[in-house]
């Protein structure tokens, strides 16, 4: 298992560099940029130049990146060009929102998707049609639209959940749950559909294998054959897809955060984009990439646990 871990971490370091450098380089190409945005359209070129000087924005890009990296390694991500607030503070408030949504979505998607997939695999033909239909709807439904509809029905009309805002876990457990319920369901449904489909295909594949017949010949109960043996072998691909799903959740959370007026990392990144607040955008890029890295590490570990052939320790 350690080898898998090291390999994944080895791949992740370049990833962190690629993302942060890319973000820096691309945004750094903006003419004028932050200074102009801060001072507004009426600013004179002299004032813009002065602010650029002050913020170090007229230095060559690689020098700017170098400074940023140096500070980042020491945990200092700089301050917002617009508000002067520390980037780590801003993102520190935003991260719990994003994490609550991502973790919540993964849990809900798995809890709904896997049983649905197993159930439909056992009823091969009709189950397949159900899962395919659900999959298609899950694929086609834009999450921002679904969020709006769910919000309308369950908040505006039924008043079961708050229409907007995020209650931190530290403040109130039930408040936190009810504030994330609708956004989580919104982004989890397509995930559940995808997982159901993947689980079903995995199960159908596994159920055709020789060892399934052998397990039945041993007199083992059918529920053990399906849930203990077949499912475990079928989950490998599902777990891999989960990694890709989590990457997609970065965008999905950004969209539902907008619908439900929550300030997650994605929302912070989007405003930083329109305001040319480079340090904040860089910080968001870093945080997102770290989330992805952690997700992939967990996915790799899960796959190694499920499939003994992936472990190298023997």
């Amino acid at each position: 298992m350690t080898r898998t871990l090291l390999r994944r971490l080895a791949l992740s370091i370049p990833l962190l560099f690629v993302v942060t450098i890319l973000t820096f380089v691309v945004t750094g190409l903006t003419p004028g940029g932050a200074a102009e945005t801060i001072l507004g359209t009426s600013a004179t070129s002299a004032k813009i130049a002065a602010l650029n000087q002050q913020l170090g924005l007229n230095q060559p890009v690689y020098l700017q990146y170098g400074h940023w990296l140096e500070h980042a390694v020491h945990g200092n991500l700089g301050t917002s060009v617009l508000t002067g607030e520390s980037v780590t503070t801003i993102l520190g408030h935003a991260l719990p929102v994003t994490l609550s949504l991502i973790v919540g979505a993964v849990i809900v998607a798995v809890v709904i998707g896997i049983p649905l997939g197993v159930f439909s695999a056992r009823r091969a033909r009709s189950g397949g049609q159900v899962v395919d239909a659900v999959s298609l709807v899950g694929f086609a439904l834009p999450n921002f639209f679904l969020g709006l509809m769910l919000g309308y029905v369950f908040s505006n009309v039924l008043n079961w959940f708050p229409a907007s805002g995020f209650t931190p876990l530290t403040q109130s457990f039930t408040g936190w749950l009810s504030s994330i319920a609708l956004p989580v369901v919104t982004i989890a449904l397509p995930g559940a559909a995808m997982i159901a489909r993947q689980t079903r295909q995995g199960m159908l594949d596994v159920l055709g294998r020789d060892y399934i017949r052998s397990l039945r010949a041993r007199g083992l109960p059918e529920r053990s054959v399906i849930y203990k043996h077949a499912l475990r072998n079928a989950l490998g691909n599902v777990v891999t897809q989960l990694g890709i799903y989590i990457v997609g959740l970065l965008l999905a959370t950004t969209l539902v955060e907008n619908v439900f007026a929550m300030q997650g990392v994605g929302t912070v990144a989007v405003s930083a984009t329109s305001e040319h607040d480079l340090p904040v955008l860089e910080g968001a890029a870093l945080y997102f990439t770290v989330v992805v890295v952690i997700a992939f590490v967990l996915v790799d570990l899960a796959r190694a646990w499920l499939n003994p052939k992936l472990r190298r320790s023997h």
Partner: protein
């Protein structure tokens, strides 16, 4: 992009499209044409305001109602389509333009190129696309085109990996090798052979990506990052509708629904193409035969077969057929008995029904096959009358089974030890510690070295011989009375084969285990069994004690099968002996003797009518009219 790879079909294969897919294509065509001809079709100017007509629902004047400025929603949707569909075209264009050639090259040439693309793809999967797109939008604000191009570029490695995989599987096909041999240049090979074969999977991936791109584009617009007002776009219309949701629910619905419609159409095309190919594969392998089977009456002599007193298992008149519209017989009137401590061989080529017979005994017939007659008498009951629950208790603790391909018969995710203790605990209810002790005992009984270490191993770490021993241990775990061994040594090499057969003999002697050994190899049968039945085309054609049948076979098929064994090939540089022809397929059994086609003794009378299985000597039965003419086997080099 999360779609699993379906194997590429032959070139120029035309997949059937379901009606749903055709509807989807029509819908997309309508949307695209509406977008292109927007100025001609749209009833109103999409940005013309008319505040007196604001917040209207659908009406005769405004088919889809109006928004907060009184602008006609239908017209805005038609024009909005231009932005979104153009964005999809941009992203998909880059996706294919970069992904397809890279995939083709990587798949065809393999090596460093393939590894490089694999690596790039791995990194691109992990890249938070949103960040890269945001960075680009920081550079070129409000530019949908830039964002969509970036999306296409970021997605291309995934297509490259997919296409590369498809190309590799096509590469292996014979016609590519043929083209290479005839000297076509790689470029022409790619174009002429590989491309047609991957067109289908390519369309699937592209349509799915198009759906994703559309969701992405509308999402960007929703966030206000792409198209700016007053230009209409589906995403920004949803955002507008959201603002006024409390006041006017309707506004948000038309743009939302049209997005769903469009994405669903992309998805349906992808799905439909996949299913069409999968369906074709399924129907060519299954398929009921048309011929009505000839039902033979139970031969009266066999009908009187009494159950021997020391029989562990007796099968009488067992018949099985396929289910479905036109059932075909697979096994007909098979009877035999095996005593405790004895070993009965069932011999025949593949397709003669031996595996189906033993599967019927285990109650593990596959879908589409069922028993129709006969009795399976075991420990005082007829297993054919058992409920599935009862049968599951008999399996393992009463009758156990081992098969060909031992490693494939073990669950790859669990250790050998676990798979043994699992059976021990299920049938015996022992505690963990007791089960573990029993497990070690069993591993010793099957003579696996270092039982403790072996128990910790996973199936992929075992050789064929070790795996088969482990499976025998599992089979013995619940102390069965009968062990069915279906071609247990076929996949193993000869020395290991001898050890496994030895083991089975020892187990019979030590525990009184009754063994039914199924094989096509008379050598194995001779080695291990004390009696044998020979099966051909679903029926028993000869039955005798092992010495008797080898001394004097009484059916031409038994003789031919014995002679066809390579180890009896007498002279160097003579062709290997083999039986000409093949076993008649299920449903195509002739009325007379089923072996007549391939038999050197066949006469008119053989083909005329059904032949019954009759006694030809003490304990020796044959289904042959000319059984006295069957020669003895000269085993010069045996």
């Amino acid at each position: 992009m999360t779609v699993p790879l379906a194997a590429a079909g032959k070139p120029h294969a035309r997949p059937r499209l379901s009606p749903l897919a055709i509807v989807a294509m029509v819908v997309l065509a309508v949307l695209i044409l509406a977008a292109i001809f927007a100025p001609l079709i749209a009833p109103y100017n999409p940005i013309a305001e008319n505040l007196s007509a604001a917040y209207q629902g659908p009406s005769a004047h405004h088919l889809l109602g109006t928004d907060e400025f009184g602008r006609d929603l239908l017209s805005r949707i038609i024009y909005g389509g231009r932005v979104s569909l153009l964005g999809v075209a941009e992203a998909t264009g880059l996706f294919v333009l970069i992904g397809l050639p890279l995939g083709l090259l990587a798949g065809y040439f393999g090596g460093v190129l393939e590894s490089a693309i694999s690596l790039i793809a791995e990194v691109s999967f992990a890249l938070p696309q949103i960040i890269v797109v945001l960075a680009v939008l920081a550079l070129v604000p409000d530019s949908t085109a830039s964002a969509m191009i970036v999306l296409g570029v970021l997605g291309a490695p995934a297509l490259a990996v997919f296409i590369s995989g498809a190309v590799k599987s096509v590469r292996a096909e014979l016609y590519i090798s043929a083209a290479r041999v005839t000297g076509l240049r790689p470029g022409r090979i790619i174009v002429r052979h590989v491309v047609p074969a991957i067109v289908s999977p390519l369309i699937v991936q592209v349509s799915l990506f198009a759906g994703v791109a559309l969701l992405f584009q509308t999402g960007l617009d929703f966030l206000g990052l792409g198209t700016q007002p007053p230009q209409p776009s589906w995403g920004s219309m949803v955002a507008d509708g959201a603002t006024y949701l409390g006041r006017d629910l309707w506004m948000v619905l038309p743009p939302g629904l049209v997005i769903i419609l469009a994405v669903m159409s992309f998805g349906l095309i992808g799905d439909a193409l996949q299913d069409a190919r999968a369906d074709r594969r399924r129907t060519t392998t299954a398929g009921a035969r048309r011929r009505a089977p000839a039902i033979r009456p139970l031969s009266s002599a066999r009908d009187q077969l009494t159950v021997p007193a020391d029989a562990a298992l007796t099968v009488r008149g067992l018949s099985a057929e396929t289910t479905g519209a036109s059932p075909a017989a697979i096994v007909e009137d098979v009877s035999f008995s095996v005593r405790a401590g004895g070993c009965l061989g069932i011999v025949g080529e593949s397709g003669c029904g031996k595996t189906m017979t033993v599967m019927a005994m285990m109650g593990l017939l596959p879908e589409g096959v069922r028993t129709t007659a006969g009795q399976i008498l075991f420990q005082g009951q007829d297993l054919r009358t058992c409920t599935p629950r009862q049968y599951s208790q008999v399996r393992g603790s009463g009758i156990a089974m081992i098969s060909q391909e031992p490693v494939a018969n073990l669950d790859p995710s669990f250790t050998v030890g676990h798979q043994i203790t699992e059976v021990v605990r299920h049938h015996g209810g022992l505690s963990r510690r007791q089960a573990r002790a029993r497990m070690i005992e069993l591993l010793e009984q099957v003579q696996l070295p270092d039982p403790g270490a072996t128990a910790r191993r996973y199936p992929h770490q075992l050789s064929g011989g070790m795996a088969q021993r482990a499976l025998i241990a599992i089979a013995l775990a619940a102390n069965p009375a009968v062990l069915i061994a279906d071609e247990p040594t076929t996949a193993l090499d000869v020395t290991v084969q001898a050890e496994i057969l030895d083991l089975l003999r020892r187990l019979r002697e030590q525990t009184g285990l009754a063994v039914i050994l199924v094989s096509h190899d008379w050598g194995v049968i001779a080695d291990a069994c004390d009696a044998a039945i020979v099966m051909y085309a679903g029926e028993v054609v000869e039955e005798a004690g092992i010495d008797d049948v080898f001394d004097q076979p009484r059916h031409p098929y038994s003789y031919e099968l014995m002679a066809a064994n390579p180890r009896y090939a007498n002279q160097p540089r003579t062709p290997l002996p083999s039986i000409k022809g093949t076993v008649p397929a299920v449903g195509e059994w002739p009325d007379g003797c089923r072996f007549a086609e391939r038999c050197r003794f066949a006469a008119a009378e053989c083909r005329a009518a059904e032949i019954s299985l009759d006694p030809v000597a003490d304990g020796h039965w044959s289904r042959c009219l000319r059984n006295t003419e069957v020669p003895q086997l000269k085993l010069e080099n045996a």
